[in-house]
């Protein structure tokens, strides 16, 4: 089944969730993206991206315990599903075939 390609923000969010593993939730994902790319993502945009990943079955949410620091609210954690991993690879593949031969350095930081 063909699904819509991932957006820029969805790629970043998916990768961040994969990196963080069981620690992936709103604040940590924002920080991960921020520290690695320098991009400051608004909480609204992030949840919108995560919702779309969730709808397509790329990530699965799970609800944690209420935490006092959060005003007694629970965290919503995310885990990447195998389909999510495939989708991320497909996105990278698409990107790689587009930039192949342009002489761009993948390792450049």
């Amino acid at each position: 089944m063909m699904t819509a390609p991932l957006s820029d923000l969805e790629v970043l969010a998916l990768a961040a969730v994969m990196r963080l593993g069981p620690d992936a939730y709103g604040v940590s994902i924002k920080e991960e993206i921020g520290s690695r790319t320098g991009r400051s993502v608004s909480i609204g945009s992030l949840y919108k991206a995560l919702k779309r990943l969730e709808t397509r079955g790329y990530v699965t949410p799970s609800i944690g315990e209420p935490i006092a620091e959060r005003g007694g609210r629970a965290r919503k954690h995310f885990l990447v599903e195998p389909e999510g991993r495939e989708a991320l690879e497909a996105s990278l593949q698409a990107l790689r075939s587009m930039v192949d031969g342009l002489g761009l350095d993948w390792k450049a930081s």
Partner: protein
């Protein structure tokens, strides 16, 4: 512990989809607290920033049908369904709003055209009129001496010019035509910033050339460029046309009387007219252009300093020795008198718009209450509050839009009607039109009204308590919502009362103006200026010509009396001199200033002046005979009979003469219905027939004088074929013009006040109806328990009466404040007039009680069996 900013948090809650609310708020709280440990202030700003940046993504959150086109169309359909399902509601909302917006847009179009649009001059802000001002005369034309002092000694002025006007006849070619001629000094067009459209303007000393207006050029000369260089006959003298003014510039400024001059032909004043320091006659309409680096205040200060020096040396001047000069920007001068009235009317109509908007807000609130179970069900089923608010806002928006469109249509109908009713003295009415500025205003008015009636109830309605709406049926409804409705009604009643009181004050003013004793009879009299070439060089010849005109006019069947004068009452112009009694001369008492009026024997009788003592003039009376008005007679001989006594009179710049008082007439209002009658000395015009600049006539008939004008015109032509009667006006018309602004304002306010009262009553009726409906169950139970209908009815009416009384209390304070604002356009009534206020409050009370009683009667129809079964 620091908390996230409340308003941002509230907004975010509204925006968040319910299933993510907890986690997003939690995430933000967590991060906020981390940041707040470093700096609470910056953390708060970070929080607000997050909310703002999240607003759009959250509004378009997947699966919630946010601000998408599809969702919008759905809402739109929902809104249109309102029209089908509740056509009465929709119709009342649209009509109420339409009336409010239409009224506001109409009045604004007049304000925009008359007050706001710039004068068609070059840099009109730098051009000022220079009017004399003394204790007796608030607005006097300048004398040559004062004009020259200002022209030479004021550094703040770039240039100074003067104008004067008379009428002339264009003869030859087509039919003789009467035109108003502006006689100007050479700098005039530079001062007003107008260049020639075609041809050129005057060189100094060009006395036999004229410049014509664009209108005259098109009308009489077919817009032919050949007119330049052509010679035209102006009252028997040849003039070369050297230029035509452009269509988009009009150098006509204000006249003595306050209206705009209508010169169509312009010519230079002979230079000797404005030379020297003569101060015997004030006749110049002086105008100056300010230097670019000077403010009006600075210029005024310089002029004041100059006039202080001048007044020290001046002993004798038309209008008084103590004369000051006021600088008035040309536009203020032209529209200053009416702009206050127009702003007051605009404020009144915006008040009506506010009342309309509150009414609609009440309707929406009441309807929201009726729909509260729908809202509750939808909220319970997961409908987000945002979605609901949005739907309500779109619904109200559609209603507002339709109301606004209706308003523009109403304005489109109303503006021509308004213009046809507007007094002719209202300047610049030709600039009033429905243009984009007015549409923008209507849009703004609609938007403002919508905020009052759409957003507030929408937020209120959706804050419905689920358990209450779905569970136990609310017995009294949400108290806060009811309080809002009630406040709106109180505000409506207060605003309406203020409008009604102001209307009452203006109606009393109109009545006072109508009852003013003018000192003459305003009915059955026609006045006109007689313009004719060749009156005769000597006094005998001029007197014979005058007598010939009088004889011909008296031959017209139906004419009872006719006479000449140099100034007609209420038509503007000033002509003064000094007088004192023989005894005062002996005692060396200072003479006092008076209006001087030259009149022919029958003139005062034609006007209907009341002779109090003595007799009128006869043909053979010389300048040694005068008639006084009662106030002048009282000043000369307090408490004594003036007839047969000797008086010293002195025209400005002439030697004193002794004269015998042969008669006394009742005081006459020369300068305005609302102005005090000035002390007057009447002199025989036939004894000074060749000295007159202006010759006016008045004739009296029984009944309506208008049909006689043609016969009078014929009669004057039998004396001279080129005689023209100009400025034909009945005394009634002059009177009507004088009081027109007050009448116009009171009539419009009466309409606005009427609408306001009706709207307030409708609003009260709505709120009461609704409250009775909601209490049906409670009432049912009470009736079952044996309460009597009458007691419950009384209770309901009392609840309404409390609202009305509160409104009246606030409205009374508002009325007193408003009375001060409109004080300047009142006449013969105090701004805080208790009778008017009491009457208005009573009216409001009666209307309010009817509005409360009718719906309260619904309680009588409550059938407990039916009501309770509904549960």
């Amino acid at each position: 512990m620091t908390r996230p900013p409340r308003l941002a948090r509230r907004l975010l809650e509204l925006l968040l989809p319910s299933d993510e609310r907890e986690y997003v708020l939690g995430d933000l709280d967590e991060e906020f607290h981390t940041r707040a440990r470093v700096s609470p202030r910056r953390a708060a700003w970070w929080y607000r920033g997050e909310v703002v940046r999240s607003a759009w993504p959250l509004a378009t959150y997947p699966g919630r049908g946010g601000f998408t086109m599809v969702g919008f169309v759905q809402d739109l359909r929902g809104a249109l369904r309102v029209f089908r399902r509740a056509p009465g509601f929709a119709a009342v909302v649209v009509l109420t709003l339409g009336i409010g917006v239409g009224g506001a847009a109409s009045v604004y179009s007049v304000v925009r055209g008359v007050v706001l649009s710039p004068l068609p001059l070059g840099e009109p802000d730098r051009v000022v009129m220079l009017w004399g001002q003394s204790a007796q005369y608030p607005r006097a034309p300048l004398t040559v001496g004062d004009h020259n002092a200002l022209a030479t000694d004021v550094a703040a002025f770039e240039s100074v010019a003067a104008a004067w006007s008379n009428n002339a006849l264009i003869l030859g070619e087509a039919e003789a035509e009467q035109v108003s001629v502006g006689w100007v000094t050479p700098d005039y067009f530079d001062v007003v910033g107008v260049a020639a459209g075609i041809g050129r303007l005057f060189e100094p000393l060009e006395l036999n050339t004229v410049v014509i207006s664009h209108g005259l050029w098109v009308r009489r000369y077919g817009a032919s460029p050949d007119v330049i260089g052509r010679t035209i006959d102006l009252s028997g003298q040849p003039f070369e046309v050297i230029g035509v003014l452009p269509a988009d510039r009009d150098p006509n400024l204000t006249t003595f009387a306050g209206g705009q001059a209508t010169h169509q032909v312009w010519r230079l004043q002979p230079p000797d007219w404005t030379q020297g320091d003569d101060r015997s006659v004030g006749w110049l309409r002086s105008t100056a252009r300010l230097r670019d680096d000077v403010t009006l205040v600075q210029a005024q200060a310089e002029v004041d300093a100059l006039m202080t020096r001048v007044n020290e040396t001046v002993t004798d001047r038309d209008g008084g020795a103590d004369m000051w000069v006021r600088l008035i920007p040309v536009k203020n001068d032209l529209v200053g008198g009416v702009s206050r009235t127009l702003w007051i009317l605009l404020a009144a109509v915006v008040g009506v718009l506010l009342i309309a908007a509150s009414n609609v807000a009440n309707l929406v609130l009441a309807r929201g209450e009726a729909r509260s179970s729908e809202v509750a069900v939808r909220t319970a089923l997961g409908g987000s509050r945002l979605r609901l608010v949005r739907q309500l806002v779109v619904e109200s928006g559609v209603l507002a839009l339709v109301g606004g469109v209706l308003g523009v249509v109403l304005a489109w109908i109303a503006v021509p009607v308004l213009l046809s009713m507007a007094p002719a003295t209202l300047p610049r009415l030709d600039l009033v039109r429905l243009d984009w500025g007015v549409f923008a205003f209507a849009l703004l008015a609609t938007a403002g009204a919508s905020i009052v009636f759409a957003v507030v109830p929408a937020v209120r309605t959706t804050r419905t308590d689920l358990s209450r709406s779905l569970g136990e049926r609310g017995a009294t409804g949400a108290p806060s919502r009811q309080r809002l409705s009630q406040s709106l009604v109180v505000a409506e009643v207060a605003l309406s009362l203020a409008l009604v009181t102001s209307t009452g004050l203006l109606l009393r003013s109109v009545a006072s103006l109508n009852d003013v004793d003018l000192g003459f009879d305003k009915d059955g009299v026609v006045t006109f200026a007689l313009e004719a070439p060749g009156w005769g060089a000597t006094n005998d010849e001029a007197a014979a010509t005058m007598t010939a005109y009088l004889d011909r006019i008296r031959e017209v069947p139906g004419v009872e009396a006719a006479g000449f004068t140099n100034r007609v009452p209420l038509a503007g112009g000033l002509f003064t001199g000094d007088f004192r009694s023989e005894e005062m001369v002996a005692a060396d008492v200072e003479p006092s200033s008076a209006s001087f009026r030259y009149v022919s024997p029958d003139y005062l009788a034609a006007l209907g002046a009341r002779l109090v003592a003595g007799r009128h003039f006869r043909i053979d009376d010389g300048l040694d005979r005068v008639i006084l008005d009662e106030s002048a007679a009282r000043r000369a001989w307090p408490g004594e009979d003036a007839t047969g006594r000797q008086i010293e009179i002195r025209g400005i710049g002439t030697d004193p003469m002794m004269a015998e008082v042969i008669g006394v007439v009742a005081p006459m209002k020369h300068h305005g219905v609302a102005e005090p009658a000035s002390e007057t000395v009447f002199l025989p015009i036939l004894a000074a027939a060749n000295q007159q600049n202006f010759r006016y006539m008045a004739f009296r008939v029984a009944g309506d004088p208008a049909p006689y004008v043609e016969a009078i015109r014929e009669a004057t032509r039998r004396v001279s074929a080129d005689a023209v009667i100009a400025r034909v006006q009945t005394m009634r018309e002059l009177f009507d013009e004088d009081v027109a602004a007050t009448r116009f304002a009171s009539m419009l306010l009466m309409i606005f006040g009427g609408i306001a009262v009706v709207l307030a009553a409708v609003g009260l009726h709505g709120v009461m109806t609704f409250s009775v409906r909601r209490r049906a169950r409670e009432i049912g139970i009470r009736v079952v328990l044996g309460a009597d209908h009458g007691g419950i009815l009384l209770n309901s009416v009392r609840a309404g009466a409390v609202l009305v009384l509160a409104g009246i209390a606030i409205g009374t304070l508002l009325s007193l404040g408003l009375g001060r604002v409109i004080e300047s356009i009142l006449f013969g009534v105090e701004p805080g007039d208790a009778a008017t206020l009491g009457l208005s409050a009573t009216l409001m009370m009666v209307v309010g009680l009817v509005g409360a009683y009718l719906p309260a009667r619904l309680v009588l129809t409550v059938d407990p069996a039916v009501t309770l079964r509904e549960e």
